[in-house]
Amino acid sequence: MEETPSAAPKRELALVSHATYVKEKALRYLFFACAFLAVVTVILIFAFTTYSAFPVFTDIGLANFFSLTWAPSEGEYGIVSLLAGSGLVTVGALVMGVPLGVGTAVYLVEIASDRVRKIISPAVDLLAGIPSIIYGFFGMVIIRPFVAQISDGLGFGALTAWFVLAIMIVPTITTLTMDALNSIPMGIREASYAMGATKWQTIYKVVLPAAKLGIVDAIVLGMGRAIGETMAVLMVVGNAPVIPSSIASPISTLTSQIALDMSYSSGLHRSALFGMGVVLFIISATLVGIVRLISKKRR
């Protein structure tokens, strides 16, 4: 039946008016713009801080910028001692925070009874929300005097910062590790128990290896938070921009030095601070890159 009313059906189909079609298109671009804003912001942050830090490349010179001594009043803008400070503080925080965080998560997911889990895990969740300024305050008022007692120093320094940062990143690492452990199907644990494995053997032979990548994610994010922390570190670290003689003597870090000097710095000193901001930005962006690589492997 070859002849069909070819023209007619086409007309009826144009029910949606041209205006709505344009509106839909416009909305689509609006939404895209909102989503793309995140990209624009990241680029803007990098561009702006680098622009403000430009004198580092021209006047200060990278050699001076990556030298050891930080003494703006004497024209020395070396950030290596601050980088070392940040590294020392972060590594120490991870050494204390990771076992505690992962241990707590394993306990809550694998070992704790339902009643205990219902009490502790929401508590840890809530405590992940406590702002770092309160951890810094607690560190300054309790931990610093305590460290001052046990060491002959003033109580400022890497050791105090470790306690504060470890306490701060434990809730983050715990919640993320719990997510990783919960993503392991129960069947695998049952299979292990059915093979006559004890709970501990099931944990370290089956569950932890299976959740390994998720736990690495949690640790890297915890590290990101420790490196990026400013106020808590500023209040307990002592702000001495040197390589410390002991873990109980004052040191300084990138973030705390920026926060300390920002209000009164000017000229080259300010550009050096922005330079440090760029370094911090690059470190945090690389950490995110590592996490995304891991999550790709996990899938």
Binding site: I188, E190, A191, A194, M195
Partner: protein, 267 residues
Amino acid sequence: MSVYQSAPTPESSAIIAKDFDFWYGDFHALTGLDVNIARNKITAFIGPSGCGKSTFLRCMNRMNDLIEGTHVSGSMSLDGNNIYAPGVDPVDLRRRVGMIFQQPNPFPKSIYENVAFGPRLQGVTSKSDLDDIVEESLKRANLWKEVSNQLSKDGLALSGGQQQRLCIARVLAVQPDVLLMDEPCSAIDPTSVQKVEDLMAELAPEMTIIIVTHSMQQAARISDYTAFFLQEVAGEPATLIEYGQTDAIFTSPMDRRTEDYITGRFG
């Protein structure tokens, strides 16, 4: 009040349950079970879903202990000693009583590591011993020809049927005396079902096999003895209705409820 048709004698039984009751917290799940499981034979548990047949199976390797608040009464003995006696460590029990689950659950490790898991638990460390055990177990699970050249491949990358046979190989690697199978074939493709059933027939002479199954044809096909469980009233504990040789149960059931079930009138 259970009906028995030429059920196995205690002497010829590997597992003997006497007046066995089971509770999930205060929910009374199973009551008055007196069952003798024949040694080195295949016993099938059938019954409508929720009649406690899986729960009873999981009591035999005390997997239910993992669930909080469960407790039992009466006795269940394996080769003469009561497995619920105070001194018994469920971990040791589970090393002699292997279990296969409804959903194939190989470890997210290589095929080799999956099978070597059990022996490593029992302290086998030398590579040559492990290689031997892995090869022999995979052969006995009729999986060796399909995976012999890719032992380092991830266990999860296998097909459903292959994964289930890998789980069986993993259990065989520790030479259990008893093999519990909780609806092993309900989640795998038909051709693999056939392979698993043939495998069970091969293993039967050396170990006691108990299989929980939904399909009565499977029970009739492969089992020597069949037990029919039923929860007559919702909320009341389930119990054993009839237990005996498979062909007797399926051709001439003595209890009307068994007859109704196997003729498909309910459940």
